[in-house]
Symmetry: C2
Subunit: 399 residues, 2 copies
Amino acid sequence: MDKNSSDENQEQKEQVVNPWEVSAKGKIDYEKLIEKFGCQRLDPSIIDRVARLTGRPPHVFLRRGVFFAHRDFHEILDAYERGEKFYLYTGRGPSSEALHLGHLVPFMFTKYLQDAFKVPLVIQLTDDEKCMWKNLTVEESQRLARENAKDIIACGFDISKTFIFSDFDYVGGSFYKNMVKIAKCVTYNKVVGIFGFTGEDHIGKVSFPPVQAAPSFPSSFPHLFTGKDNLRCLIPCAIDQDPYFRMTRDVAPRLGYHKPALIESLFFPALQGETGKMSASDPNSAIYVTDSGKDIKNKINKYAFSGGQDSVENHRKYGANLEVDIPVKYLGFFLEDDAELEHIRTEYGAGRMLTGEVKKRLTEILTEMVERHRRARAAVTDEMVDAFMAVRPLPNMFD
Amino acid sequence: MDKNSSDENQEQKEQVVNPWEVSAKGKIDYEKLIEKFGCQRLDPSIIDRVARLTGRPPHVFLRRGVFFAHRDFHEILDAYERGEKFYLYTGRGPSSEALHLGHLVPFMFTKYLQDAFKVPLVIQLTDDEKCMWKNLTVEESQRLARENAKDIIACGFDISKTFIFSDFDYVGGSFYKNMVKIAKCVTYNKVVGIFGFTGEDHIGKVSFPPVQAAPSFPSSFPHLFTGKDNLRCLIPCAIDQDPYFRMTRDVAPRLGYHKPALIESLFFPALQGETGKMSASDPNSAIYVTDSGKDIKNKINKYAFSGGQDSVENHRKYGANLEVDIPVKYLGFFLEDDAELEHIRTEYGAGRMLTGEVKKRLTEILTEMVERHRRARAAVTDEMVDAFMAVRPLPNMFD
């Protein structure tokens, strides 16, 4: 083990963030994460620039710091300003039937980016990854991939600019060639340093990073980007995916490609409090897009960690602790009205608004949002899934 | 490191046999190899049984012990006797433009098996492997794969029963699904034990064994074997490929497949003597299918290691040492007439025949064989290569 690895192990006792585990003793220290990963904070000047270049107000996830870190995003903007286009790449590991709100965050943001910049988007469903990590059968992973594709499509992506693919269906040809080219550039010691694999891990795990790296290079998609090897790629994702793309960015220049740029989000907190990502094994830790209005109300009232005081009297006296209050954090993601959010924060923080009132407002907002999603998903037919996943050119993708 | 690995290391100082290296201090000890790998010797009763079941005399490579070891070949014969068919799988790593005689050995034998048992055959060209191990570009590996396919086709395979594929073209779909299923069953420690990878090896190497394993399972070829998941597979190969298939056989029952059976050959010796496989880096160590009659004559006269004595006088007195004599060994591969071979061995061994005479006879035989191959190869058009490599059903493959 080299020095870096053992430093990393030291730190991992405090805070572990990788694609398969997010945990910390207290809250995730995002500043430390930025420093450790070597990415940059997304500062207000970049956000202003996005607004200026796209002629739209910045998305609430930008204004509120949900997407808070990046790698080379300014280069994407420089190129865009010169009139060059780029493409977006995001993805999902289909490990569960129903998505929760945290799963929607990158897709909501990616839709905004697609609309604002008018660029094509590839969405990778890593059914092979989940088959290997969660020990699902191939068939079950593929079924989940299709189910998840429906939720993704329900987020409103433009079919004339969007290609969704499952690895089990799509790996091969130019994509496989890029996997091999990438794999040639990365030693086993390197992936151990980045991902923490051990000798007892199966070789499917060791083989997977190039699969997630390949979509960062336009030549993996000959039906979309033939003759466009110079096209830049922007990846919106949660910051736990950063290790894959650190590896990809190391490799890119050796293969003659641009390094993919990244724009990275915080983790969406669990109802029980902000110590990591939500746990798929505890259905009460998250609000799912399949939850009824009653479920949502119950979960918020029963499980959402409150920063309010233990009695109305104390609450009026001391006010709520907004730093730990989950309803306020959730409102920060999904209540678009800045003025109303500020009002709630002020009143609740001063103790003039009670926890119950904040939870009621959050319940309204999430119920409306989940119902809207459910209606949109119900309208997604199998034919639409086939259409989004068809291997095809997208002649109007840059319009 | 477990006990096995360190035993292996001890032994490797004496004799190294793996898919990328064959070396020994003296001659390869095949008995030791059989014991170490855990395969069986091909005994005369199995060879008699092959003759009986196929109604043909056994191939010279069987009679002379060129194919000398096996795994579960008797199970293939049992099944065949019950009226069940099987399929053949062999392959080549396309690392050089021209094949030498040693490269032809498995293909000549595979053609005999195809004709004798009337069974389908898949031939894998591992252009991905050579791209990774020999650091060739993707394009160069693919070009070599096509060139080598012409030499393979020139061996006379039946197009109605033969599918040739390059990994770069074919990996994907059901084949990729099997790669993932196989990879899930093999730990990194396991491949280190089998193949001796180190942490400084790139992960492409670690990812490759499932690619070579996948063709052992019929479901990797849906256009050929849909609904035939129970079909057995027989792999003719040189014994250095055994590690891949030991791994494959470990995995097979966990995936619900038969273990592939193997029939394994000695290494074709270098002109300079029998200490391993031929070296691609020394063109004078082997006779290539591109060599002219003059080249062949020169190479045999100049480089073929002789067991004859240093003077005619001594030769007449002591006779030739047939154990080390390369011309006699080569005749053992390619002189089909048993009586003539026996005559040469007796006369040469007794000193009544001189080295020059033996070399002259070998030159005749190899020149004729190489010229026949060259004529056959010249008749292989690009259209024929496309036809053999077309992803297609083979409706008459069991006729």
